[in-house]
């Protein structure tokens, strides 16, 4: 019983980075830009968060905000590549990941931020829910866990219930139509890239500042890629992405539980599980929904106005 309670209590800690990163990717991809760089931007957010924490001496909220800004600034490089230079978006996304992996590894060592613990945020209890049996621990979490659903609500409202969101989706579905309607296509795409990247950066900072509470090189460990898969699995819908993030959080939270309870499984088999599930989910989605109707119509296509054929 205790084991189940502590497993449930751990789920949000694993689910929040997936959820925030997937949400950021959805914002970017709804504008028609194929974003594969989540892994890199999460690393930037993670390192910047730790750096800011260490430099400000524990102003964690500011550290999170600075982490978001850092990811936003780095994403401008991606925006330059795909919007202005119109480099293939897959290549640009991969290049961004490798660039960020190298950059964060280097800076982490040079600035000597590796393995330095930070304070993080105190857990808060959501009384009276925190007194519930079994699921009680679900409501004793750091504040960002409780803020995450609010971020989802705000993003969904903007995307689906505002003229701003209508224009953003139009840019992603049919940029020529949006252009003819007088919407600055590249401006909207650039804004989407920066805004989405800030959410992805927050996801990275969550891992380093709030969850692990220190920086280790390459600490995101493939979660950015799982987020990319999650977005496809969720058919670009934020709520489905949140559900998917919780599902993956459940699996990831199971790993330390199994180790603690003495179930003997090969270590690498356990580490493989989330990726195996990702693969399985992707195959299932590919088989189940053959229509790609919910995919943004212009995903991955650069926008050029004065082109003849």
């Amino acid at each position: 019983m205790d084991m189940i309670a502590s497993w449930i209590g751990n789920i949000p800690d694993f689910a929040v980075p997936f959820a925030l990163a997937a949400l950021g990717l959805i914002v970017i991809e709804r504008s028609g830009v194929l974003a594969l760089g989540a892994e890199g931007l999460m690393l930037v957010g993670a390192l910047a968060g730790i750096g800011a924490s260490l430099m400000t001496g524990g102003a964690t909220v500011w550290a999170l905000i600075l982490a978001m800004c850092a990811a936003g600034v780095v994403s401008l490089l991606f925006a330059l590549m795909v919007l202005v230079m119109r480099i293939n978006q897959v290549i640009a996304g991969l290049a961004l990941v490798f660039f960020c992996q190298g950059l964060t590894g280097l800076l982490g060592t040079l600035l000597d931020w590796t393995n330095k613990p930070v304070a993080g945020l105190h857990a808060v209890s959501l009384w009276p829910f925190s007194e519930l049996p079994v699921v009680g621990k679900l409501f004793v979490q750091n504040p960002l866990v409780f803020v995450t659903p609010l971020i989802f609500v705000v993003v969904v409202l903007v995307l689906n219930r505002s003229v701003l969101g209508l224009r953003l989706r139009a840019v992603g579905e049919n940029p020529q139509a949006a252009d003819a309607a007088g919407i600055p296509v590249l401006g909207y795409r650039c804004a989407a890239i920066v805004a989405g990247s800030m959410l992805i950066g927050l996801a990275g900072a969550y891992i380093s500042v709030l969850s692990t509470k220190m920086w280790i090189a390459d600490m995101v460990g493939g979660r950015g890629w799982i987020a990319v898969a999650l977005v496809i699995f969720a058919r670009w819908s934020p709520w489905k992405a949140l559900a998917g993030a919780v599902l993956f959080g459940c699996i990831e939270a199971l790993i330390p539980q199994m180790a603690a309870s003495g179930i003997r499984l090969p270590q690498y088999f356990v580490f493989m599980t989330p990726y195996a599930v990702t693969l399985g989910v992707m195959i299932w989605v590919a088989l189940a929904s053959r229509d790609s109707s919910s995919q943004p119509g212009a995903l991955g296509e650069p926008f050029i106005r004065e082109e003849r054929r």
Binding site: S162, L166, A170, A178, A181, G182, I183
Partner: protein, 505 residues
């Protein structure tokens, strides 16, 4: 009597990749008139109007609205000046509703929540549609509307965004005759009663003669005349657009048809609403069999099935002496001399990013004419292509290595025909061969089909253009609701065929 000028373009020039699309073109439209802009394909009509709508920036020349000079930085500027353009390819966001699409184009948003704005937009749509004399469901998704309805959405979109100068680019190209009449009457009322300026970009003489108050004729990037259509005959207008008068299409001379080449029996497609419901026809050597009908009665599916596209079908398509068409591989089809000319040149007939010579050679590369599989005889390909390009009068070829995508519609079609007719075909299947082509290119295409027939080919012509079928076919089958419901031999009564096309339920 003449109204003040609404929009004036003065000596406008524009080139693309060194190709001069417009040279010193001038154009004036007045308030309260329907002004037709007439010209062949590639004459520069769309380019000129894209400049008026702010999509392209002119290299030289100037634009005046109400006789005031205006500089347009983009479509937004054009909209602010009251210019709205309905493009040939609709600029609608398919998964959005009608109201969402229109809300997207509104510049001055009312206060209120998103839902209130959407509701207000829906009211405006209903009111504006009613004033134009049609109705539309504001909350229907655009991709579930018919083409004619989508076009109405486009028109509502530009009008609700405040357009007083309405530019329609080839608006009737995608419509049936009845729909086109409806649309043109609507825009005519809009110009005459509301005092707006309507510019009708078209290459259809009938539309000009019936609906335009003024017509400007374009030829090879220049405006050559501006006159009142009532003061000239159709012949004179054709002469102005083409330069020299083409010979009028004639009814083909009848000729003894040979043995049956292709027999189609009970061809049906599957599904809940099958497009084909038992097509029967026999095609003989040395004849053109024309299939006429209102668009969407199964013609595309019939063409697809005969051309070997994977259409789910039951029934028989017997190529006499060879068995069922479906059982033949693409290579075997080529060996037997089956030529296919699909309706969509760029997606089904040509590889647009490849060179002209590659596109030409791909038809015959399997036969070994251009070398064995490890070696390509480039010189022979080039020579054959050059000969075919000259023989079939493919214009606009600057180099045989240029991309096929750079050819205009008519010339791309000529290239397809040159390839398919490189060796005398036994069986020709053609679908809408002159769609989007100008008068001269159409005549050239028709001439090729006639000479193939005279050389003994069996030609199946599927076309939604009744004039084309009348001009070419020796026998005419009328297709309706997935069946051939009647056959007519030449000389056929146009009225009777027209009746058969629309009356059958």
């Amino acid at each position: 009597m003449s109204n003040p000028n609404a929009i004036r373009l003065d000596s406008v020039s524009k080139s693309f990749d060194g190709f001069k699309a417009l040279s010193e073109a001038s154009f004036t439209a007045r308030w309260g008139e329907v002004h037709a802009l007439l010209g062949e394909n590639g004459a520069g009509k769309s380019s000129l109007m894209n400049i008026a709508a702010g999509l392209y920036a002119p290299e030289t020349g100037s634009l005046f609205i109400d006789d005031n000079p205006v500089h347009l930085k983009g479509p937004l500027d054009a909209a602010a000046q009251g210019i709205g353009m309905v493009h040939q390819h609709f600029k609608l966001v398919k998964p959005f509703t009608v109201a969402e699409n229109i809300l997207l184009g509104l510049r001055h948003l009312q206060a209120g929540t998103y839902r209130q704005r959407l509701a207000q937009t829906a009211e405006q749509i209903t009111a504006m549609a009613a004033s134009l004399g049609f109705s539309i469901e504001p909350h229907a998704r655009v991709d579930q509307l018919s083409v004619a309805e989508q076009q109405r959405v486009e028109i509502l979109k530009v009008l609700l965004a405040g357009a007083r100068i309405l530019i329609l680019d080839e608006p009737t190209a995608v419509l049936t005759d009845a729909e086109a009449e409806n649309l043109l009457t609507t825009v005519q009322n809009f110009a005459h009663q509301e005092g707006a300026a309507v510019i009708l970009v078209t290459h259809k003489m009938n539309d000009v003669m019936r609906y335009a108050d003024q017509v400007t004729v374009m030829r090879t990037g220049s405006t050559v005349a501006s006159l009142k259509p009532q003061t000239v005959s159709v012949g004179e207008l054709v002469k102005l657009t083409v330069g020299d008068a083409p010979t009028p299409p004639q009814i083909p001379s009848s000729r003894d048809a040979g043995e049956v080449r292709l027999a189609v029996r009970d061809l049906s497609s599957s599904g809940a609403a099958p497009a084909l419901r038992g097509v029967n026809l026999e095609l003989r050597a040395g004849e053109i069999y024309g299939i006429a009908g209102v668009g969407g009665n199964g013609q595309s599916e019939l063409a697809g099935a005969l051309m070997g596209l994977p259409e789910p079908v039951s029934g028989e398509m017997e190529l006499v002496g060879e068995g069922d068409l479906n059982s033949l591989s693409a290579a075997r089809r080529r060996e037997l001399g089956i030529a296919c000319i699909p309706a969509d040149r760029y997606s089904s007939a040509l590889a647009a990013p490849l060179s002209i010579s590659d596109n030409f050679a791909m038809g015959d590369v399997h036969s070994g004419r251009y070398g064995p599989f490890w070696f390509l005889r480039r010189k022979r390909i080039e020579a054959d292509t050059a000969a075919a390009v000259a023989e079939f009068d493919v214009q606009g070829v600057r180099s045989l290595q240029q991309k096929a995508a750079l050819l205009s519609g008519g010339n791309a079609q000529k290239l397809v025909i040159a390839r398919e007719f490189a060796r005398t075909p036994q069986l020709v299947i053609v679908h809408s061969p002159s769609r989007g082509l100008d008068v001269r290119a159409t005549l050239a295409v028709h001439e090729r089909l006639r000479s193939a027939r005279d050389a003994g080919s069996a030609v199946l012509l599927i076309s939604e253009d009744l004039d084309e079928v009348m001009a070419l076919a020796d026998r005419i089958g009328v297709m309706s609701a997935g069946r051939i419901i009647g056959e007519f031999a030449q000389p056929a009564d146009r009225q009777a065929i027209g009746q058969a096309m629309v009356n059958h339920v």
